[in-house]
Amino acid sequence: MSTHTPPTWDLALRKHWPHAQHPFTLDVAAQCHAPRLILLGESGSGKTQTMKMVAGVLRPDAGHVRLQGHTLFDHAAGLHTPAHQRRLGWVAQDYALFPHLSVAQNIGFALRTGWRNPTAGHTPAAVTDMLARMGLSAVAQHLPHQISGGQKQRTALARALMSQPRALLLDEPFAALDPALRQRLRDDLAALLAELALPVLLITHDEHDVAALGALSGEVLRLPPPQR
């Protein structure tokens, strides 16, 4: 790796939330040459909000976001790539599944970016494969409110993976899974990541996740505890 290689993740973000009782200011900066960046911090320290800013759905007050040398956001330069052009596979903490679409339709959502949703009747082969890999084949035609917490989380993960992202943003991707399944998916994902060489920004509370997904080639960004 030459010294001229730009950092995988180059984040500098400032954002202030005004609130009558308890305003919150987030100020993070990290340059990470490893492909994985792990965000750690207490509950409420700003991990999820940081990830939203990287995803492009929340606009920082100042700073920049660069991925492998590509600038996605630069306040000073007035540059802001809209979320839909960032191609980042984001798994939100609360999953954000589309309640009007089946599990299969949710997973196939990003396969077409036109103005029509995937049809309910026909499931593309790639989606069928993904369903099987995630152990979701049985609930493929269920709506989100008809599946369990763990099934929801796997659907969100599968949906992000199907979008052919150039990086993954994972907000506690295995929190709702039982240990066996968590282990399996973690290994699966690690293999996939090794293969695709995808950069990852990961939020997790589980050291095993860190070990499996980050330790080999990861750095850790630790957020300060929230002011009380």
Partner: protein, 231 residues
């Protein structure tokens, strides 16, 4: 019963077009007010909202009168249309459509605004992050999720367009077979003291309305979560 078919067909044509136009206009305006501009523009938004509700507050006949003033061949808009395109709206069924559209517009607009405001913005964000442009987000996430409320507004608008005659009549004139809708016919029968004929027409118009409403109820592909809980 023979004289029923022509006005019936005309009524459905006028109400159908008015509803379709309002689907576009009302949903567009509702979405714009729900989603555009920063939150602190709330007063401006509420003011526009109130202005767009005004067609509701004017007696339809009065609204029709002002419409006549506007789109009549001497009116500012009407004169322009006539000179530029040779279009004359007064005394045509298209004129009736315009009147019915304006009268019913607030029904769709307000329903749509409330429905879009109820859509979880986090889902729209998720769709953006999955590569969808704003247009695609609208058609694939916002609209389906707001559809229940919008449909309720559309059905009201359709019913109102069926029943409206004050403004429609003013703009369209009651030309038998051309612009005489069912509700005008009912009105005339009642005015003329022909109670039997009126009642017959009321049955027809009610049957049409119920049929359309029942059919449209099926138009909601996503029925949302059925209440599964106990009570």
């Amino acid at each position: 019963m023979d004289g029923v078919w022509t006005p019936l067909w005309l009524t459905l044509k006028v109400a159908g077009w008015a509803t379709a136009l309002n689907l576009v206009l009302g949903v567009g305006a509702g979405w714009a007010l729900a989603r555009l501009g920063p939150p602190r523009w709330r007063l401006a938004r509420d003011l526009i909202d109130a202005l767009l509700t005004l067609p509701m507050v004017l007696p339809p006949t009065v609204l029709g009168y002002y419409l006549l003033v506007l789109i009549g061949s001497q009116g500012p808009l009407g004169a322009w249309l006539l000179q530029t395109f040779g279009i004359r709206l007064i005394f045509t069924w298209q004129g009736a459509v315009i009147a019915a559209t304006i009268v019913a517009f607030p029904l769709v607009f307000k329903a749509a605004r409330a429905a879009f405001e109820g859509v979880d913005a986090a889902l729209e964000d998720a769709a953006r992050s999955l590569g969808l442009s704003e247009w695609a987000v609208f058609f694939r996430v916002s609209l389906p999720l707001a559809w229940r409320g919008i449909l309720a507004g559309l059905l009201l608008a359709f019913a109102r367009a069926l029943g409206e005659f004050g403004a429609t009549l003013m703009v369209a004139g009651s030309i038998a077979g051309k612009t005489q809708t069912l509700s005008i016919a009912v009105y005339e029968a009642v005015q003329a003291g022909q109670d039997d004929a009126a009642l017959q027409l009321v049955w027809v118009i009610s049957a049409v309305c119920i049929t359309v409403l029942l059919l449209a109820g099926r138009l909601s592909p996503w029925q949302g979560r059925a209440p599964e809980s106990l009570r």
